[in-house]
Amino acid sequence: MTTLLRRYGTLIGFAAIVIFFSVSLPDTFLTARNWLNISQQVSMLTVVAAAMTIVMAMGDFDLSVGSMASLAGVVVATLFVHDFPVWAAVAIALLVGLAGGAINGVLVSLIGILPFIATLATLTVFSGAAFLISGGKTIFGRDIPRSFSDFARNGIPLGTIGDQKLTLPYLTILALAVVAVVWVLMEQTTFGRRLYAIGGNREAARLSGVRIRSLRLVAFSLTGFGAAVAGLMYASRVASANPTQGSGLMLSAIAAVFLGMTMSEEGEPRVLATLIGVLVLGALDNGLTQMSVDSYVRDILVGVIIIAAVASSSLWKRFR
C-alpha cells in the first residue's frame, strides 16, 4: 500500500487535480476541446522535457534549453527576413540547436566542467546571441511566411461535437512524435541502456567499456536539438520570435522531469513519466487560468507541488 502510494503519488496527485477542476469547472474543464487545447499549450514543454530526460538519465542537467529555444526561434525568423525558404531556415535553426548542444557536450565531457556551470554559461551565451541577432526586437508580421505559422494553427480534423469542430493540432502530433522517438531511444536501444547505466554508476559503466565521453557528447547534442525544435514550434505558434520567448521552458521542463522521477522506484527519469509531469503542470495551468487565478499564485502553486511530490517520494524512501 505504501509502495503503491509512493510509486503512484504523482499519478494520484494528477487525478486529484483533474477531479478538482472538473468539479470547479463542470462545463469547460473535462471536455475533449479543452484537452486538445491543453495538449497544444504543453506541446513545446513536452518536447523540451523529453529532451531534458535524455541528459538527466545520465545524472546531468541542461540549463540552456530555454535560451536555446529562443535562439532557434530568432534564427529562423531572421532567416525568413532574409528570404530563406522555409525548409532551409528550419534546417539551419535545427543545426544551430544541434551545434549548441554539442558545445555543451564538449564543455561537459571533454573539458570536464560541471553541467550546472557549463550550461549556466551557455544559457547566457545563447541568450546574448539571440538578442544580438534580433537586435533585441520581436520579429513578426509579414516577415514570417504563412506556411510556417499555419503549421501551428492547423491539425487533423476529428469531427464535430454539437456545433464545435475538433482538431488534433499538428503541434500535439509533433510533441507526441518526439516523445515516441525519445521513448524508443531511451527504452529500446543500447544508447538509452548505456545512458541509464552511466546515471546509475558512472565508474561501473566506464569499467564495463561504456564510452562515457562520446555518449555524453551525443546526449547533450540531442537535448540542444530538442530545445531548438521547441523554439521553432513556439515561433510558429505565435508567428513571431523574440529573444526571451523560450526562457520559461527550462524550469518547467526540469520540474516535469522531477515530477516524473518521483514515479520511478530508483528515481530514474523516464520519458513517459516525464509526460505525466508535463500534464500535471499543463492541467494546473489551464484550470487555474480558467478560474482566473492570478498567474503569480500559479507560480507559487507549481513550486509547492514540486516540493510536495519530491519531498513525499524521498520521505517514503527514507522510512522504508
Binding site: T189, N201, A204, L207, S208, R320
Partner: protein, 512 residues
C-alpha cells in the same frame, strides 16, 4: 548480567524477513564474534544497534535495564561505538580533524581552534594503535585504504567527555589492513577487554575470530543458529553453522592441467607507479599476483583492462598485438575485468541483474548494434546466472537487493558472459561469505579448464596458494619474481613479498 542484551529482534524489508526474533547477549569484558554469510542479517542487526534502522520489534536491555535506541544519538549515549566497513571519513579534512569529527576541538583563548593541541591529541590517539607513520596534519585523501581504516579505528577508541565507550561494534575492521596492522589492532582490543569493555566483532576471517574472541554467535537466514564459547567450538563447526552444509575442501582441485600456449603476452608494459612489466599468461593457467598492500597488484590489472593509461609497452592477445587501447576495446578483444570494489566499480546497483550482465556486451544483444534484443538478453542472463549459481528471483531483480556474495556472482556473470580469453580478478572473494566463495572458486576452475587464462590479484594468500598455478610477486610497483605455487608455503610467499628480509621492511614501514 549482560552489558547489552537483545531479545526478539525482528525486521522485515519489503516483505522479506531480514531478522527473525534474534537474541544476542554481550557480557562485560568480552570480545563477541558475530558471524554469518552475507545476507544472513549481520548488517541489519548492527544498523538496528546503531539506531540507523528501526526494528519491527526489539527488546533492548543495557545493564539489565530496558533501553531504547531511536537514533544514532541514543546509541552513542548508551556508550556504543561503531566502526563501519564502509569508511565514514571526510577526505578533504586532515587526519586530526577526522579523528575529532563530531567532538569539540581544543580551543585557545578567544575561541579559536588550537591546531597544535588538536594534532597532539590526534597523534596520541594514533599511537595507541602503535601508529607513528601517519602525520595528523595530512589530508585524509592522501592516505591509502588501510591507513584510513586505522584512522577511523583510532577515532572510535578516543574517549571524549560525552560519555564513556562501553561496547565497540566493528564490522570487518581488518579487511583493508596488512597482517601487522591487524595484529596491532588485536593488541588494543585485548587491552579494551582487560579494561572491562566489550567488543562485538564482525568478520569473515575465521582464524582471526577463533584467536581473538571469547564467544561467537552465528546467524543464518535472519535467525540465530547458536551462541557458543570459542573454546568449545572449532572452525569447522562455525563454517557448518554458517552455511548449513559441510565444505570438504576450501579450494577445489584443477579440472585440467594448464596449457602451454600463451594466451596473453605482456612486454614492457608501464603505467603510473609501475616499473615496466613483462610476463606470459598461458591458456588454462591461473596466475596469481601477490604483494604487500599497495605494491601495484591492482594497477597491473587496471593497465591490462584498459582502465588506466599505459605509457609504453605492448600486449599480445591472440592475433592482436599492440599497446592497450582502452576499456571498450579490451572487453571486445576478450579481456574481462572484475574490479576490486564491487559496489562502486563492479555494479550499477539501481539496475536489474540482466542489464549489468550484458552491459559490456550490448553490441551482441542488439539488432544492428542499436535496438535491444531483450529476449536474447534475458535468456543469456538466465543461463549465465545459473552457471555462476546466482540466487535471485529472476534476471529483472535489482542488484541492490542482492547479498554481497550474490552481487559478486553478478559481476562474475558479467565478465564471463562474453566468453573471455583472459579474466582479470581483483580481490575476487573479498567480503564474500564462505558458501559463495566456494562457488566462485569452482567457477574459476570450470572456466580455466575450458582454456580461459586467469590473473588473480589477492591479499588472501591461502586463496592464491590454493588456486594458482604460478604466483607473480610484486614489490614497489615491480615484479620481483614468479614462483611455482606447488609446494609453496604461506610463510615463504610472505617472505618473498617482504623481499626475504622482513626486519628491514618493518623498519622502513615504521619510518614512513
Amino acid at each position: 548480567m549482560s552489558l547489552l542484551s537483545l531479545t526478539n529482534v525482528s525486521k522485515t524489508y519489503a516483505g522479506v524477513q531480514a531478522l527473525r526474533s534474534v537474541s544476542l547477549a554481550i557480557a562485560t569484558g568480552e570480545i563477541h564474534a558475530l558471524m554469518g554469510e552475507n545476507g544472513a542479517g549481520k548488517s541489519t542487526l548492527i544498523k538496528i544497534l546503531a539506531g540507523v534502522v528501526a526494528a519491527d520489534t526489539a527488546d533492548i536491555a543495557i545493564d539489565g535495564q530496558p533501553a531504547t535506541i531511536d537514533g544514532p544519538g541514543d546509541a552513542f549515549a548508551h556508550g556504543l561505538r561503531f566502526i563501519h566497513q564502509e569508511l565514514n571519513v571526510v577526505p578533504s579534512l586532515s587526519v586530526a580533524e577526522n579523528i575529532f569529527l563530531g567532538r569539540s576541538y581544543p580551543r585557545r583563548l578567544g575561541g579559536l581552534i588550537d591546531w597544535d593541541r588538536l594534532a597532539d591529541a590526534a597523534r596520541q590517539a594514533l599511537r595507541r594503535l602503535g601508529i607513528s607513520h601517519i602525520d595528523p596534519r595530512t589530508k585524509m585523501a592522501r592516505l591509502g585504504v588501510g591507513d584510513r581504516m586505522l584512522v577511523s579505528i583510532s577515532a572510535a577508541f578516543l574517549d571524549s567527555g560525552a560519555g564513556t565507550a562501553r561496547l565497540y561494534v566493528m564490522d570487518e575492521p581488518t579487511a583493508a589492513l596488512t597482517g601487522e596492522e591487524a595484529e596491532r589492532l588485536f593488541t588494543v582490543l585485548r587491552e579494551i577487554r582487560k579494561a572491562g569493555r566489550s567488543v562485538l566483532y564482525v568478520s569473515h576471517r575465521l582464524d582471526e575470530v577463533t584467536r581473538l574472541c571469547n564467544r561467537v554467535t552465528v546467524l543464518r537466514d535472519g535467525g540465530v543458529i547458536a551462541t557458543k564459547a570459542m573454546a568449545e567450538t572449532s572452525q569447522d563447526d562455525i563454517i557448518l553453522m554458517m552455511i548449513g552444509r559441510q565444505v570438504n575442501e576450501a579450494y577445489p582441485p584443477p579440472l585440467a592441467p594448464a596449457g602451454n600456449e600463451v594466451a596473453l603476452a605482456v612486454r614492457g608494459l608501464q603505467g603510473d607507479g609501475l616499473d615496466p612489466l613483462s610476463f606470459d599468461l598461458r591458456k588454462g593457467e591461473i596466475l596469481g599476483i601477490a604483494g604487500l598492500a599497495g605494491a601495484g597488484q591492482s594497477e597491473v590489472l587496471r593497465l591490462l583492462a584498459g582502465a588506466d593509461r599505459a605509457h609504453r609497452g605492448r600486449v599480445q592477445l591472440g592475433a592482436s598485438e599492440g599497446p592497450p587501447r582502452g576499456l571498450a576495446t579490451a572487453w571486445r578483444s576478450g579481456i574481462a575485468y572484475v574490479p576490486r570494489e564491487r559496489r562502486s566499480e563492479g555494479l550499477v546497483l539501481t539496475r536489474p541483474i540482466s542489464d549489468n550482465i550484458t552491459l559490456p556486451h550490448l553490441a551482441r544483444f542488439s539488432r544492428g548494434g542499436v535496438f535491444l534484443a531483450r529476449r536474447q538478453e534475458q535468456a543469456a542472463a538466465r543461463a549465465i546466472g545459473e552457471n555462476v549459481r546466482l540466487k535471485a528471483r529472476g534476471p529483472r531483480q535489482l542488484c541492490r537487493e542482492l547479498s554481497g556474495g550474490n552481487q559478486q556472482k553478478v559481476v562474475f556473470a558479467k565478465a564471463l558472459s562474453g566468453r573471455p580469453a583472459v579474466l582479470l580478478l581483483d580481490e575476487p572473494t573479498r567480503g564474500v561469505d564462505v558458501g559463495a566463495k566456494f562457488d566462485i572458486y569452482a567457477l574459476i576452475r570450470e572456466w580455466s579448464a575450458k582454456g580461459m587464462a586467469v590473473l588473480i590479484a589477492s591479499s588472501d594468500f591461502p586463496e592464491l596458494l590454493g588456486m594458482c598455478d604460478r604466483i607473480l610477486v610484486m614489490r614497489d610497483g615491480a615484479i620481483t619474481t614468479i614462483l611455482d605455487a606447488e609446494g609453496l608455503s604461506e610463510a615463504a610467499l610472505l617472505d618473498h613479498c617482504y623481499g626475504r628480509s622482513r626486519g628491514s621492511v618493518t623498519a622502513r614501514a615504521a619510518a614512513g
